[in-house]
């Protein structure tokens, strides 16, 4: 486990490395979830951890999400730092009560006497051709809940650094893993000091328009920016990274230069993070905006069947159409 070299890792392995290093560094760090031990998780993200750290610290729990999160809260009260895995996005709802009415509020209602350093890892998002409940994007539900942090990496380095930071955080973190990108490789420096993951990151510079994305759509946004470049349009891409708190200031600085914003996510447009960003940018950049903020999200329907998910999801063409629309103002 040499930590001073650059490794080329897929996101899944970067996450695994983050958990491995956190388990090694702190004996109170625990992993818990369905099938995460012997099997290494249905996506193999926790592979090998049980062998190294034992069944007491890498727990194959009984099958109950409310039980997993509820017991994680109790373990945190006892001084542990549990990292829970929810097997798929659509299966987090049985634990919704424990997350929103308990985990998010106990620090507040105990007047700050109880901190709950609990991480809830959720593989999320679509385009994996799966059956229902395996492709959802529930981030806005959690972002709307005060007391939770919500974050999502888009590349291997962030996957490593952000998960380390999530585990080190004294506050509960909903950690959304873009499952269709689990095998996307990138350079990872495990010694890199933790970045400030409450901050968004400009991942491509441009002058004509700002395109904000997060998670699995960051590579799509970058590809759209590349395609727009061929038409002579210079698009700046911002990876939001932190969903709550949302780093509006970085987007504001970008839009102050470009005057235009397109924001995209897989989750339904209505009530989503795009609306939140649009409202904030509409207020802060009112006199600098050349066009209304455009949202490109999922439609207002339950996530559809795999055969038509391409039509549901934001893709390069939908982003280029939105870029056109913005620049036509």
């Amino acid at each position: 486990m040499s930590t001073h070299e650059i490794e080329n890792l897929p996101i899944a392995k970067a996450l695994n490395a983050a958990m491995d290093d956190a388990l090694a560094a702190d004996p109170t760090v625990l992993m818990m979830g369905e099938d995460i031990g012997t099997l290494g998780g249905v996506f193999r993200v926790t592979q090998g951890l049980k062998e190294t750290y034992g069944a007491d610290r890498v727990m194959d729990t009984p099958l109950g999400e409310a039980g997993i999160v509820g017991t994680a809260i109790g373990l945190a009260m006892r001084g542990y730092r549990p990292v829970c895995e929810i097997q798929f996005d659509g299966f987090v709802y049985p634990s919704f009560n424990q997350i929103t009415s308990q985990l998010a509020k106990i620090h507040f209602r105990s007047d700050g006497r109880i901190s709950l350093p609990v991480v809830i890892r959720i593989p999320y998002g679509g385009n994996i051709g799966s059956i229902e409940h395996h492709s959802e994007s529930p981030e806005a539900l959690f972002a709307h809940t005060a007391g939770l942090r919500v974050m999502t990496p888009s590349n291997a380095q962030d996957a490593y650094s952000m998960l380390r930071e999530a585990i080190a955080s004294s506050d509960p973190v909903i950690f959304l893993e873009p499952k269709r990108r689990y095998w996307l490789k990138g350079e990872v420096d495990r010694s890199a000091s933790t970045t400030d993951t409450q901050r968004a990151q400009v991942v491509r510079e441009g002058q004509d328009l700002t395109l904000a994305a997060y998670g699995a759509l960051v590579p799509v946004a970058l590809a759209a920016a590349e395609a727009a470049q061929e038409d002579g349009r210079s698009v700046e891409v911002v990876d939001l990274r932190s969903i709550s708190p949302l780093d509006v200031a970085t987007v504001e600085a970008s839009v102050s230069r470009t005057g235009r914003l397109v924001v995209t996510h897989e989750a339904p447009t209505f009530g989503g993070m795009g609306g939140e960003l649009a409202a904030e940018i509409g207020t802060r950049c009112f006199y600098r905006l050349e066009a209304p903020v455009i949202r490109v999200g999922g439609y207002h329907m339950p996530y559809p069947v795999a055969a038509v998910e391409e039509d549901y999801l934001p893709n390069i063409d939908r982003l280029l159409e939105a870029i056109d629309r913005s620049l036509s103002h």
Binding site: P27, T28, L30, D56, R57, T61, P62, G64, A66, G67, V69, G70, T71, A72, I73, G74, L75, A76, M77, R78, G79, Y80, P82, P94, N97, Q98, S101, Q102, I106, H107, F108, R109, S110, D111, G112, R113, I114, S115, A146, G147, R149, S169, S170, D171, Q198, S244, P245, L246, D247
Partner: protein, 388 residues
């Protein structure tokens, strides 16, 4: 469903757990071959102390109900009738044990050393939690029914892990391994989280005692709607021991709790105790029990009042009037203190609440705080400009 007599259910009669009972309704002390041993060191002085606690909390409850009626508190949920179950259980606990109450455990809180006056800040709307949950190993009340149960199981899993991983134990914990006690009601037993909790507790041999106060009602819904069988019998389905006890019998509750905690401390996993009792008062000050239960039923249970029963016993043991008079006077005095404390409470400042949303600095909260402060400051400026 509520109308059906419980015996109609097929199989319900078979294998019923017996109900442990030691102190009879007439106050006469019986014996129980399995549990007498757990009462050997209980002295008359101990029983008098328990009586004083129960009477004090009864008086507290009445005073707080009056305060609510006078508009000083938003709501109150009296524990009247359940004092023996709570005090009896508390007597078997050690300081290092962790308690997760539901929201009606006032007598248990009192026994654990929680300042009940602090508790009232919650019901006055002046505090979210009330007391320091870390000071007495008594967690905050939880108002989302059953949500505390998996948390308690997790806490107990942590107590067991501490030993397995050799992590530093709290020096206050002494030599006896700590246990966790979680309280909930008959209605709450139906929640999915209660069920999942029992599975988790069994799987991890968690040192946890599920302490159910079956007070026969969940607001207006009778116990027969929650379960065909005594709740203690559910424990067998999860693979651990369940015990039914007369919850209005201080001695029996103390004995079975001592037995259960001893077993739990030995590492034999969870136990469930169902203390059969009755909520003599309304569900809360917002409730009207005449809508769902009969006077006859209430009178029947009033005759089993745990405080009356203990008094009968003490009198049979020739405890003198002077003791009862002094206990009553002390309880009255406590009631007055409670009243004064509630009336003297100072409301918190709204701005303080930005401090505790998160443990770490959070830009979203800081943005809201800055906005609020600026908004407030605007009123100061306006007041300076226009001194009317």
């Amino acid at each position: 469903m509520a109308e059906q007599p419980e015996t109609q259910h097929p199989g319900a009669g078979a294998g019923r757990l017996r109900r442990v009972s030691i102190l009879g309704e007439d106050g006469r002390r019986g014996s129980d071959p399995d549990f007498d041993a757990y009462l050997e060191d209980v002295t008359l002085e101990d029983l008098k102390a328990s009586y004083r606690s129960m009477l004090t909390v009864r008086r507290f409850d009445d005073e707080v109900t009056a305060l609510q009626r006078q508009g000083k508190l938003a709501l109150w949920a009296p524990a009247r009738g359940q004092e023996a179950a709570q005090v009896g259980a508390a007597l078997a606990m050690l300081p290092q044990d962790q308690v997760f109450p539901s929201y009606r455990e006032h007598a248990l809180a009192y026994e654990r050393g929680v300042d009940l006056k602090e508790m009232l800040s919650v019901f006055r709307g002046y505090s979210g939690g009330g007391w320091d949950p870390t000071a007495h190993n008594f967690h905050l009340y939880t108002f989302v029914l059953a949500a505390q149960i998996p948390q308690a199981v997790g806490y107990a899993m942590g107590q067991r892990l501490d030993a397995r991983l050799g992590l530093g134990q709290d020096p206050a914990e002494g030599s006896e391994p700590p246990a966790t006690i979680v309280c909930f009601g008959d209605g709450s037993s139906t929640q999915g989280e209660a069920h999942e909790s029992m599975v988790f507790a069994a799987s991890y041999d968690a040192p946890v005692l599920f302490f159910v106060q079956n007070n026969q009602w969940a607001i207006s819904v009778p116990f027969s709607t929650q379960s065909r069988l005594p709740l203690a019998e559910r424990a067998a389905g999860y693979g651990f021991e369940g015990i039914r006890v007369d919850g209005n019998d201080l001695l029996a509750v103390r004995a079975v709790t001592a037995y259960a905690l001893e077993k739990i401390r030995r590492g034999e996993g969870p136990v469930l105790i169902e203390a059969e009792t009755y909520r003599l008062g309304a569900h809360t000050t917002a409730d009207d029990p005449t809508k769902y239960r009969t006077r006859e039923e209430e009178d029947g249970w009033a005759a089993k009042d745990p405080l009356v029963r203990l008094e009968r016993h003490l009198r049979a043991e020739e405890v003198e009037d002077a003791f009862f008079e002094a206990a009553s006077e002390a309880a009255q005095e406590y009631g007055r203190e409670v009243r004064d404390a509630v009336l003297a409470m100072e409301p918190p400042e709204f701005a303080e609440y930005f401090d505790t949303v998160y443990a770490e600095a959070n830009t979203l909260v800081e943005q809201d705080r800055a906005w609020f402060q600026q908004y407030e400051a605007g009123f100061d400026d306006a007041a300076q400009e226009d001194p009317r």
